[in-house]
């Protein structure tokens, strides 16, 4: 592997990895609070990309297809899809909170499929172009050209994650979130409005996924109803690698998975068509040898 290829794959890995990290973070946060894998998370990411595209197309009429449009799309989509997350929690998860685990899981799956099915029905399964005009200016390292867009993408997702970490570790609501994740019953007795904290967690997790969706849509230039399926799976893998329930773990896991995938699929005997198999194999290996992930706590089931 030459140096150029190395740098190129490093850049690709970091970009894909920061998308994974953003989505894994939402998984992890929701899991931390309600101890449930939110199956709908990948679909929320997909919805975020679509809402972003819609906003972008409207705003683009006035401000053009440049940075301003993308930022508007990002912010509006994060807000709208964050609220969508709250709605999903309210109607699909809250009524089931005390139901047997199997029922909750199937309901979560149902919610995910409704989002996915709605997107399919509305778009007819077509690919939609996300035509941005962000320029190709950038810096050259050796022969590898790295655009400013790529740098901004990575920086923006790191900033979002850092903001989230600050929120969880420094604010009153963040403290409430941590309390609920440790003991929901005791938190309620201490006067924490558990329902509100859970709703807030869904809002933030969904907003992050939407942010990832808009960035990925703008970066790859295409949005599709099925884009959330594999993404949800990979974000889950990233969350497991980092240690599910841990905010820094999700970031670490996302970036590591991105790099692993970029380098793994450039190996001669792997090839890009085996990329997803490679990622899945990694997940299985982690579940066998280090199910707690790199930064996580015990995940063995307890009642």
């Amino acid at each position: 592997m030459t140096l150029d290829l190395l740098i190129q794959q490093l850049v690709n890995g970091l970009i894909v990895g920061s998308f994974y990290a953003l989505i894994a973070l939402g998984y992890s946060m929701v899991f931390g609070v309600i101890k449930l894998l939110n199956f709908a998370h990948g679909d929320i990411y997909m919805n975020g990309a679509f809402v972003g595209l819609i906003v972008f197309s409207f705003v683009g009429i006035w401000v053009g297809n440049g940075w301003l449009g993308v930022v508007c799309a990002l912010l509006v989509s994060m807000l709208v899809v964050g609220l969508l997350g709250v709605v999903i929690e309210r109607f699909a998860y809250r009524p089931m909170r005390n139901a047997p685990r199997l029922s909750i899981l199937i309901t979560a799956l149902g919610a995910s499929m409704v989002l996915n099915g709605t997107a399919l029905a509305l778009t007819g399964g077509r690919h939609y172009a996300f035509n941005t005009d962000l320029g190709f200016a950038g810096v050259d390292i050796s022969t590898v050209h790295i655009t400013y867009t790529q740098m901004v993408l990575v920086a923006a997702s790191i900033a979002l994650m850092a903001g989230m970490q600050a929120f969880v570790s420094r604010t009153m609501y963040g403290k409430a979130m941590r309390a609920v994740s440790i003991d929901m019953g005791a938190s309620r007795l201490m006067g924490i409005d558990v329902d509100r904290v859970i709703a807030l967690t869904f809002f933030m997790g969904s907003a992050l996924a939407a942010g990832g969706g808009v960035m990925a849509g703008a970066y790859y230039g295409s949005v599709h109803f099925f884009m959330g399926f594999i993404m949800g799976l990979k974000a889950f893998t990233a969350a497991v690698i980092g240690g599910i329930g841990s905010v820094p773990g999700a970031m670490l896991g996302g970036l590591l998975l991105g790099l692993l995938e970029a380098f793994g699929s450039s190996l001669p005997f792997v090839g890009s068509e085996w990329r997803d198999v490679f990622v899945f194999g990694t997940l299985i290996l982690f579940l066998v040898f280090k199910p707690t992930g790199l930064l996580g706590r015990s995940v063995v089931e307890r009642v």
Partner: protein, 319 residues
Amino acid sequence: MTDEVRTMPATAQPRLMRWSVVLPGLAALACALVLPQFANAYVTEVATTALLYVVLCLGLNIVVGYAGLLDLGYAAFFAVGAYTSGILTAEFGFNFWLTIPVAMAAACVAGIIIGAPTLRLRSDYLAIVTLGFGEIVRIIARNLDITGGASGLIGIERPEIFGFKLMQVQHFYYAFLVLALLTAFVCLSVERSRMGRAWFYVRYDEDAAAGIGINRVTAKLQAYMMGAVIASVAGCLYAAKMTAISPESFTFNQSLLILLGVVLGGMGRIPGVVLGAVLVALLPEVLRGAGTYRPLVTAVALLAIMLFRPNGLWPDKRV
């Protein structure tokens, strides 16, 4: 917690013969036996599909209904069976009947690879890992040469029994009917066995089950593998019936339909599951004109059942 703390009935073993179940069951069986004599090819074809779903749903019911594990990649085991049988007959000239034990073994191996690491962990992990597994099996089938790639495997040999070659829709209808009855019989016996009671126990209260000496990981793995084996046998027969299989027959949507069948009728109870399976098989016929709205209808059905009638249309009285 309400559902979880309800006590198990004192006799986990219901009476073997209940006329309210046996009589309609016999009537349904009699109808099933004579159906191809009266129905046209289209109806027989749909009925064959329904029987295929009955087998698959009964198999998944062992995993979901009996042991309470969510398997979202059940079609993968169906694919393992279909491809094992297909490759062995089409490429290596095996006798169809000999491929069945090989397919069962292959499903067991796949079940252990996926189940052994994940079943020790929380049940959500199994759900999402099986989701991934379903997708991976499809990707592998699409990328390998031996599986025929994206266009699939063709020229699978039709099975022969005592010199009689299964050719027409009716023949496969009866073959699937036999398989469905066999599966139902296996489910019925396993449900009442020591292993089946262990599954129920693990499903209701894992800690209590562990407390009375049930190895819960082993119990879950047994359920998972038994489900896998049933799907693989269904896959063998499916491959023989179609003579051509492609990765697109084993998508996530397929797994979802099988799960819907189990949930729709009522998890854990054989008549409910059979009803669910038949309804699921009829779904594409009913929704023929719905086009891209079809997955949405499936999804809304699943969600509505879970929110408003979580025990299914024909629920298990014991829960």
